[in-house]
């Protein structure tokens, strides 16, 4: 048993750079979430046309406006990221607020769509297999939008209280990654549910 010095001698290595832990963590979360969505999307595709009774996907209307709102919120959040990177806090607050607004419009649109499906077309989650897969897949995405909006709103509150500064850029960008993921998932859900599956 040789004795060991308590500390280890230092060698100079000035070019030691590591990836940001926030980004690595968020990318890991996104990979995990993608697997959840994959399972639900696979279930949706597998069960298309297998309902033995009740309404079919033909009753769906393509939510063009909703989709446009959600996708443009990604542009708004990119502009917000750029604004805070350059320290323009008022512009950041404006673009961030617009992102939240577009997200809320998307959720409201989903609510209106679901109200029509439930009351006019009589499609609920227990009506038939299509109802089960549709509401669970679109609902899973809507849940992610809600979680995203809660986090975006938290940042908005801190912004309005004047607590968000340029040095928080990286945290803002990590959060924005999540929002981009929610948007990207919508592209998949939209294609599967409203384009291919109808």
């Amino acid at each position: 048993m040789s004795t060991i010095p308590n500390s280890i001698p230092i060698f100079a290595d000035e070019n030691w750079r590591l990836p940001s832990r926030g980004r690595v963590g968020m990318f890991s979360l996104i990979i995990g979430e993608s697997a959840i969505f994959t399972i639900f999307v696979v279930a949706y595709i597998y069960y298309i046309g297998r309902s033995t009774y009740g309404p079919t996907p033909q009753i769906l209307d393509v939510p063009w406006f909703n989709t446009a709102c959600l996708l443009s919120s990604s542009i708004a959040i990119v502009l917000a990221e750029r604004a805070i990177e350059r320290g323009r806090l008022r512009a950041f607050a404006a673009w961030w607020g617009l992102t939240i607004l577009l997200g809320i419009i998307f959720l409201a649109g989903t609510a209106i769509e679901w109200k029509r499906l439930i009351y006019a077309d009589g499609l609920s989650i227990r009506t038939n297999l299509f109802g089960t897969t549709f509401y669970s897949l679109v609902g899973l995405h809507a849940t992610h939008v809600v979680v995203g909006l809660l986090m975006l709103s938290l940042v908005m509150i801190f912004t309005l209280l004047g607590r968000v500064e340029q040095r928080h850029t990286e945290r803002i960008q990590v959060l924005a990654l999540y929002w981009h993921f929610v948007d990207a998932v919508w592209v998949v859900v939209f294609t599967v549910v409203y384009m291919l599956g109808r």
């Binding site: 060991i4 308590n6 500390s7 890991s28 697997a35 399972i39 279930a43 297998r50 033995t52 227990r126």
Partner: protein, 562 residues
Amino acid sequence: MADQTFPIPATVDVSRSRGAALLEWLHSWVITVDHKKLGILYIVYALFFLLVAGAEAVAIRIQLAIPHNHFLSPELYNEFFTMHGTTMVFLVGMTIIFGFGNYLVPLMIGARDMAFPRLNAFSFWMSAFGGLLLYFSFIGGFGLYGMGSAPDVSWWAYAPLTAKAFSPGHNTDYWAFSLIVMGFGTLGAAINTLATAFSMRCRGMTLLRMPLFVWLMVVTSGLTLITITPLTAAQVMLIIDRYLGGHFFDTQAGGSATVWMHFFWIFGHPEVYVLILPAFGIASEVIPVFSRKAIFGYPAMVAASVGIAFVSLSVWAHHMFTIGMTSVSNAFFALSTMMVGIPTGIKIFNWIATMWGGRIRFATPMLFCTAFLFQFLCAGLTGIMLAAAPWNWQLHNSYFVIAHFHYTLTGSFVFCFFAAIYYWFPKITGLMLSEKFGKWHFWLFFIGFHMTFDTMHFLGILGMPRSIYTYEPDRGWNTLNMIVSVGGIIQAVAVLILVWNIVDAFRHGPLAGNDPWDAWTLEWSTPSPPPAYNFETEPVVRSRRPLWDIKHPNDPDWKYER
């Protein structure tokens, strides 16, 4: 502001009672965000449930020791084998890998904590709460049989048995909800491990200088991200079916029971690799140290680990050969399963090559790792046998399958984690475990293991199906079942020796010192147990064996490694 120090008046300690001190000590464990304390919590939690699930296994084996036995009721038997499987996989396996991961990954890469300490605490308490919820089922609510509502649908919970019509009461709900809760805990732990290994390494600790245990934790965490989440998704579907009247697995409405099987095994098969990869990591740390040689073929070991992770994602349907898939699917899953043998073969040869010509010390950790090598080889060979679809048709759901996967999970996973306990206990507590008790533990467990699981292969070939409550005396299974049960009890005694060894070490174990095994990774450069900040100064490494470099300044590793 935890690192601020305040002047404490000397009177405080005098006036405090022992009860208050105990409360404060317990409180410090509840609020802790220190990776070492959380790692210890994970490990203690896993060991506790190892005893619980082990007791369940012993009860199952007493029930099966003789034909027409009535030691357990049929209902309780179903609950016990379900809970044994669920507990061993989720409460013992998943927690102990993240326990050692939590404790060792920051120390091995020269970091002061995990990347997200509070997420770390959250992950542990989610897992702990999930376990509590699972075991609350024994006393909470009223089940189908009015005698506790522990899950009784077996750990793979095939549809349509889990449908509301066939599984009334809350047994299945406890199972699904507790696994969802634990799933979030595991997801958090995996994210944290990845972020720590990629973003918190000390200077000079390049990816290809990381200790193999860290590498295997990285691969395991990456695999966890994409395997635990499908389980969570499938559980959500099950909950939707049971509570909201959905039709995912409702064959009357066009749903499919086979889809549950696919979703479950998309999780279930990579899950066994999630468990076994950290065990490989432990073997890759212990075998070189006790052979006094650097690990043979480090890059090949890393590549093989990543390879196993990728191959493991495409093999799940080998659990489903008997449901009647197309011959193309059968061929695909048989071949992809056999491919797992290539990277695992590389690893086994590398471990043997590490031992080859080394000065081997058979201390307890090395004994467990040596047995692991042999048993893992056997497990792999029966795995290849079961991967052949026709052989599988014959032996599916028989005791041969039970024997095969207990060879991997007990013979490999548990053996490696016993090695880990003996190897890192001195670091974690500063005290040595007794070698005498350790040898008793090893030999009894080894003998019990082989009595139980070698014999199970024969029972399977003789046609004994798994999960049966009892059997007729004229099947020719009586003697073999008795041997299996006696082996199970010997293993239980061996585990109790481990518990006694740990208790005894706390009473009068010799002090370990910083580096009792003369090892080479960074955790051994800290005092035992390590201080809250781990390293006084951030270490700088230049090779895969930083402590070798310090101990042998005339012959450091970095002269030879590129």
